[in-house]
Symmetry: C2
Subunit: 438 residues, 2 copies
Amino acid sequence: MKQINIGILGCGTVGSGTARILLEKQKLISDRTGINVHLKSIADIDPTRGKDLPLADGVMTTDAGAVVDDPEIQIIVELIGGKTLAKELITRAIDNGKHIVTANKALLSAHGNTLFPLAAQRGVDLAYEASVGGCMPIIKSIRESLVGNAIGSIRGILNGTCNYILSRMTAEGCAFDEVLADAQANGFAEADPTLDVDGFDAAHKLAILNAIAFGMTINLEDVYVEGIRRITPMDIEFAADFGYTVKLLAISKQTNGAVEARVHPTMISHDNILASVNGSLNAVTVSGDCVENVLLYGHGAGKMPTASAVVSDIVDIARNLVFGAPGRIPALAYRPEAIRTIPVLPIDRLHTRYYLRFTAENQPGVLSKIAGALGSHNISIKSVNQKGRFYGDHTPLVMMTYKACEADMKKALADIAALHIVADDPIVVRIEEDNGGL
Amino acid sequence: MKQINIGILGCGTVGSGTARILLEKQKLISDRTGINVHLKSIADIDPTRGKDLPLADGVMTTDAGAVVDDPEIQIIVELIGGKTLAKELITRAIDNGKHIVTANKALLSAHGNTLFPLAAQRGVDLAYEASVGGCMPIIKSIRESLVGNAIGSIRGILNGTCNYILSRMTAEGCAFDEVLADAQANGFAEADPTLDVDGFDAAHKLAILNAIAFGMTINLEDVYVEGIRRITPMDIEFAADFGYTVKLLAISKQTNGAVEARVHPTMISHDNILASVNGSLNAVTVSGDCVENVLLYGHGAGKMPTASAVVSDIVDIARNLVFGAPGRIPALAYRPEAIRTIPVLPIDRLHTRYYLRFTAENQPGVLSKIAGALGSHNISIKSVNQKGRFYGDHTPLVMMTYKACEADMKKALADIAALHIVADDPIVVRIEEDNGGL
């Protein structure tokens, strides 16, 4: 039986999970593949991190460079995270002719346009299933299973922390800060939650998915990003009254020669299957012109689910090595020569429906003035909800609009602000009507 | 650019859809793969069937044998269906060293134990993604993405016709016969619906999934099968009162050295994501020890969704051919030497919860007698619903039991029948409590 030697960089959560699968599932994997996928080295600055793993002597090391330079190792698995050391080690490993597996969405969305061509030139595979959607095989599905489809759109719940927070806010009526603090205490959110709750993590993932779905260069800078900090239980309740659920969605759509790419709190109909995805789970719907829509659903993060995706990449590459077929599938789904720069539609040109919540002064004519300002910018109101609640001199005034252009909405909101009849900035949540038939 | 020549057998719904993708997406596919996947021939006894396709002269033929024997064709796509001619042509194509793509679940579940080893001996790939779940990449996901997981269970809505009928019965309160007739009139059900509504089609699919999930020989004969003909709107309504939805589920679970494998109407909690899968859509949840659960959801049948899966298989094999890597992934997910015969748990040894509806005579003591008979066979009742409805001298009496053994249930029901206090056979529906956390 052929043996493929693996070196893992980083023995944190996902690194130790990956090592555990390779060690404990060696027979299962060889029964399935006929390959002895062998963990030769695992490097971490803190060598005690491997102490719970049944490692043979010499497998754990603090010398990541030696792992990357080891001529017996064919596949380097980068699970350090971050964009500096990880990039350095991956680049060095590629130079050494090693194949790469990584879960590092931040790195790939920032430097993928350098790293993927580098790997292609050197003739090595660079696999990253675990970087998006944890154990859900979203990369493989788009790249291989939908190969005969022109992809139309992607709609995903791609950040477990946000979904966990919004689910609890919905179920319990708690405020964002309260749920975040509790999530941090329970390990469901990072001490610095910015990357998650401000939408950047989902944007990293969406930038990667867009590249493989549409055959475009990775374009993180132009993804519109808005987090969930301003969402309140009141908005969630109003949304429910209208039949909607609030989710942080990552959305991209192929339009005329451009791609919409945006991450923001979104109201979706209760009937949309994504509305049923709760807690830290992830789900993503991909539309293709042959399949209509396919949805994947599962754990988008966590030790073993993510490690499972890493191992699927390791095995894919090991099979390529044994069959002499590295490069069998272009890393970014398209041949490098076929990848184009496709513009991202500026958010100002988005047409969508909106939920607006104003904190209106309790004086006559406010509704008419707001409606007038919206109307003068071509924004039609579909429904209004003014619950009989008062906060001092103010009352929440909620409107759901028909489709409108974002630039018009901005102008209308500026006009409304200038009228001095509302306190605070309004809460603006985009509504996604298309549920893809699922 | 390398060219791979394709021959399609059968220009029916899926065959013409596959041809259409190959013809219309040639550039997209070559942009993605660097391969010219070329439709060389398509055979059908009725050559007029290709008339809507933009076929070059000589591509359409009535001579399937000539396609299978054509030395320039590397991949044969069998979309004839049935188990006689299809088997003959596939066998001949394998003998000729050609790689095979098929969507024929009936053939594979009946003769896979012969055909797969034949292909392996001849060193050709035999791919069948489209045979289960239409466009959902369930075969690829189990075989490749979950390669590091011991699979625990599969729960799926795998027959679109049954799901369509049950969804409409649920939404509209119509009777089975009425919805079936309407479905037949609208092309959602076959003229002879037996294969679908009696559960056999789902059983074919489950037998294939079990093989790749558990590394077992294909064992269709031992899959327990029960269709949806006896389900009434009344049962669906009672189920809803208890918080359940009725679905035809295909269920398999790895137990101690055996595998549960069964297809039958099943009550699942409204909270279970599978309960939200309506119409002709399919969905399947797979549990693995690393991922917990992954769900795929999409069109399980239909022209273009199924053709999309066929094309993904064609491209997979084309990539293998260009890279000299046929056999890269064992067709049945395990190396032939590692495939074992795993017994299927006899249905009598199943332990599950039950819904029972008796048509009870309106006389005193009936409930107590029925409860007594159940109790004497170790079956405990969790709840009872006796709506105040009367049908002549009878009234429906519904019970939900705690977990019980199927053999005990049969004995208890025989005892109850012997008491002559119920009319007709009771309606018995198994309840699936585990939603896999999804």
